[in-house]
Symmetry: C2
Subunit: 206 residues, 2 copies
């Protein structure tokens, strides 16, 4: 009978096509500069069709960002699985995070630099499924390993993790929004942040 299945497959296909078209425009011009009508034009459907697949523009955006962040999770998984010095692993993970943000500035901006509207369910974004939280969990595991290996003077893994996250987020977001600032060099600032924070955690119980 497979008709239902085929329909469902086609439906998934168009959904993906919408996401791809939107994502492309979105990467090129930024979320707020891409209208539903333009996305619709691109896939040669009427604008309202999109609403059959996504509740609204925000949900479309969120789906696209989730898809992208899945790739970050993959990268972090690989890094975490490698054996060796936990400090080096931590540093590599932090670097991967920043690089990912710079490679996907619009997705990064939507996910981490845009406040959620008051009406949304904030619980949802703190649950383990949320891509951001998953990425943060990797960080926490790295930090635990460092503390367990006696590399850090600091013993508060949670505080250390949150500090590290805020640090790499700081560089990432500033490099994205203020790319014209006379940075001493993108790579240098990234390295500067990671090395300084790690050195601080090694040196002092904050």
């Amino acid at each position: 009978m497979g008709v239902r299945e085929r329909r469902a497959r086609e439906k998934r296909y168009l959904r993906q096509e919408i996401m791809d078209a939107a994502s492309e425009l979105f990467v090129k011009e930024g979320f707020e500069n891409v209208s539903m009508r333009r996305i619709a034009d691109r896939i040669e459907y009427s604008p309202t069709t999109i609403y059959l697949y996504f509740k609204d523009k925000a949900e479309l955006l969120e789906s696209i960002c989730q898809e992208t962040f899945a790739k970050l999770i993959q990268r972090l998984t690989k890094i975490l699985d490698q054996p060796g010095d936990p400090i080096e692993r931590l540093k590599r993970g932090l670097l991967a995070y920043v690089e990912f943000g710079l490679e996907n500035p619009h997705h990064y901006r939507s996910t981490f630099m845009t406040p959620l509207p008051d009406e949304v369910d904030h619980e949802k974004y703190v649950k383990p499924e949320a891509a951001g939280i998953q990425a943060f969990d990797f960080l926490r595991r790295c930090v635990y390993d460092c503390i367990a290996a006696g590399k850090f003077k600091t013993k508060d893994a949670e505080l250390a993790s949150q500090t590290l996250w805020a640090g790499v987020h700081g560089v990432t977001s500033l490099l994205i929004t203020h790319s014209h600032f006379p940075w001493v060099g993108k790579e240098q600032v990234i390295r500067g942040m990671i090395n300084t924070l790690v050195a601080g955690l090694e040196a002092e119980n904050i």
Copy 2:
């Protein structure tokens, strides 16, 4: 004759009234949720009147943010003028920066978390008049003092300053956009960031 002067004064007055009304709405509801029409309603003028005083919505926003950031500059001036341990001064300055951001989340967001449209003159935002750059200059001076006093292993003042800025920006912006995240405590994270970074600069030549 003084007519011209009186007119100019009145004109300045309405300009300020527009800025005040806009700023108030803007603080309450965020820039993107406040329309020119609503601002106009508030001051009981027609929407187009605003365009006699500001080129567009972006310029109005920019003027408001500049006005607010002048206050930060004031605070930082006071801190910089105090004698004592340069490290303590640096830490107090960094803390003032974060606190200012959290007190003025919408202004902070507009100034530091929103990318400038491609068409604007980026030069303008790197010039010494720009509020952001002025604030950064304070930071740089603090860092110079620390290096001069032999407190830092690091000798690259520019890199250290940029790293510190990125760090405090990271906490500030994350606390603004992700206030629902299970932080170990806002004050703790802020302190964690400042202490860790400073400890890192003291301990290592990054």
